[in-house]
Symmetry: C2
Subunit: 393 residues, 2 copies
Amino acid sequence: MQKNFVLSTTDRHSKARRGQLTTAHGVIDTPAFMPIGTQGTVKAVTPRELRELDAQIILGNTYHLFVRPGLDVIKHFGGLHNFMNWDGPILTDSGGYQIFSLAKLRKITDGGVEFQNHIDGARAFISPEIAMEIQAALGGDIAMALDECVPYPCEYDYAAQSAELTTRWAKRCLEWKRRNGETAKRGLADSPDRGFADSMLFGIVQGATFDDLRQQSAQAIVELDFDGYAIGGVSVGEPEEEMMRAVESAEPFLPRDKPRYAMGLGTPPQLLEMIARGMDMFDCVLPTRLARNGTAFTTTGTLNLKNAQFALDKSPIEENCACDACREFSRGYIRHLIKAEEILGLRLITLHNLHSYLNLMKRARTEIESSTFDQFRKAFVAGYKTRDPMMVE
Amino acid sequence: MQKNFVLSTTDRHSKARRGQLTTAHGVIDTPAFMPIGTQGTVKAVTPRELRELDAQIILGNTYHLFVRPGLDVIKHFGGLHNFMNWDGPILTDSGGYQIFSLAKLRKITDGGVEFQNHIDGARAFISPEIAMEIQAALGGDIAMALDECVPYPCEYDYAAQSAELTTRWAKRCLEWKRRNGETAKRGLADSPDRGFADSMLFGIVQGATFDDLRQQSAQAIVELDFDGYAIGGVSVGEPEEEMMRAVESAEPFLPRDKPRYAMGLGTPPQLLEMIARGMDMFDCVLPTRLARNGTAFTTTGTLNLKNAQFALDKSPIEENCACDACREFSRGYIRHLIKAEEILGLRLITLHNLHSYLNLMKRARTEIESSTFDQFRKAFVAGYKTRDPMMVE
């Protein structure tokens, strides 16, 4: 398989990049937003709807799928693509982030992490090698190295040691893939997918909020030679300024010809700021999670559709929006659905929010191609108001 | 407007009828199943999906819509069709059934019912005239007269008095419509709908489980001359045999040239039995409500998809089923979604169940046309197993 990343345009006024990443399941135009399919489904959305939304890649959460339904089930179905009936690209995370944020009784050693899952409390152990094995079984197109994601705030010494641990783990992930990639096929003979060797593996830069640690981590991870690089440990509660600096510290050390993925963020203005700082890929729970609480994203900010002001509002969530929710339903009706706790309400806002995020990336790509990205970004950020304190989780 | 009911075929071996009911928003082929749109949405389903499922009519619950979002909101949006973006026929119930089953502190007099709603406890009063006024504002194609639905079991004397009250109320409903139908237009000038005079009004037969009361009620209601007739007070907890008898007692007194609606039932075999007893229209929460609990309907019985036996099952909910859930997803995947409490799981089962009910009606219509309905019914009922104690609510 031809796995590659081609940069077609780089912005003259910012570090924004327009590229294409080719995977075994299709091409991803970057900058790209990846809807999150936590438990084998993007919440409340069908694969067909994802295709209609022009989602080019989704993210699968290794930890959640490992806990439920479990690897045996997903292997039996021939991998995650077959299981969930999504034939586009999938990126699987390493499971590390959820182990550190959801699981209980964690014990981290050089060998790996011991934990109890949050569903039934069963004990499990994950090492860099096991994280690879699991991701090989899931059969995504892009796998992530196991890393330790430290919380915010974090002491310098702990952050330094942790970043070094992440580097050692990254090396073991690469090593495992080199040794086992060809043989680590997914369960079923009728699977159209090829071995794990055809998947890409991304390394993750850590270093908390310390410029020198971010820099050292980036250099160490890049030296190992991955198919792409992620900035991890951002959007973990730090001020936005620190988040931007973490990316700015690492970015100069990332190779130009590999995709860069800023993990787990963010608001629409944050995505544009990250694109301006040279990032290509994003994933975030905000569009789907806030939808379930009645919050819609528009190009001028968020709307809490539970508010009484929308009760008689005949306009769509956003004027001129091309999504199905906006073409067919009013704010007043959607408000009623959300107030009455009707599933259709969160379905409609989810569709709108995903469209909003995916469309923002489409717009960013066009603006980069037209060398107008920087103006666009500035105007968008200036016009965007965060009306809802729920915005940042 | 031409509102009419045409019977094209009547079965030689049973009382089954094949007909067409023409309303302001389209034609309904009977026997017909009406998905329930309790709070202005068939739960978890979009109007577009309903059209794709070939649903020809849906039911709107007057009581729920009256409580939330309230009539002012729905009037402001120009009626229920506009509010929920469903342009097909709508039948609205009178609200009576929910007042008797959900609301608190009910006080029934000849004038009407005083109650406190189950959401915020606000007091309200509904009379036959108010029930008509509300339904005129909702703007459905078929309205129902206000009735008292007595519980099971019920004393003879109470059932007799109650059926008489229902007849007096029915008369007042007709009277209100005759006087106000032309002027009771829905709120908006841009509404494509015409006045309430164009809507049909159905009367409801009561009489609990007493043959003579059912007969008397049917005669009294039919004498008032409605556009259609419903059998109410069935599927309220009585044994299936009593339910069948209640319908059998009333049916001979219903005019042949008007549609008959058996309210609030039932399982797939029960629907076929009701069709064989001369009923044309049905509504039931089972397909949507049980879906949310993981129960799927098939032609051979129900499946509880939560069961461990389905964890590795690659087959669809039902072989050869043409619904989207069965064409695209496995039992194993849907089981995982339900166990993980993912909305997509109940969405898929809801689609399948509605398809199953609607398709059963389609099949029944074809079988009536081919004079093979009675064999079909017997074979279906014999082959249907209720595996799940949740079946009857």
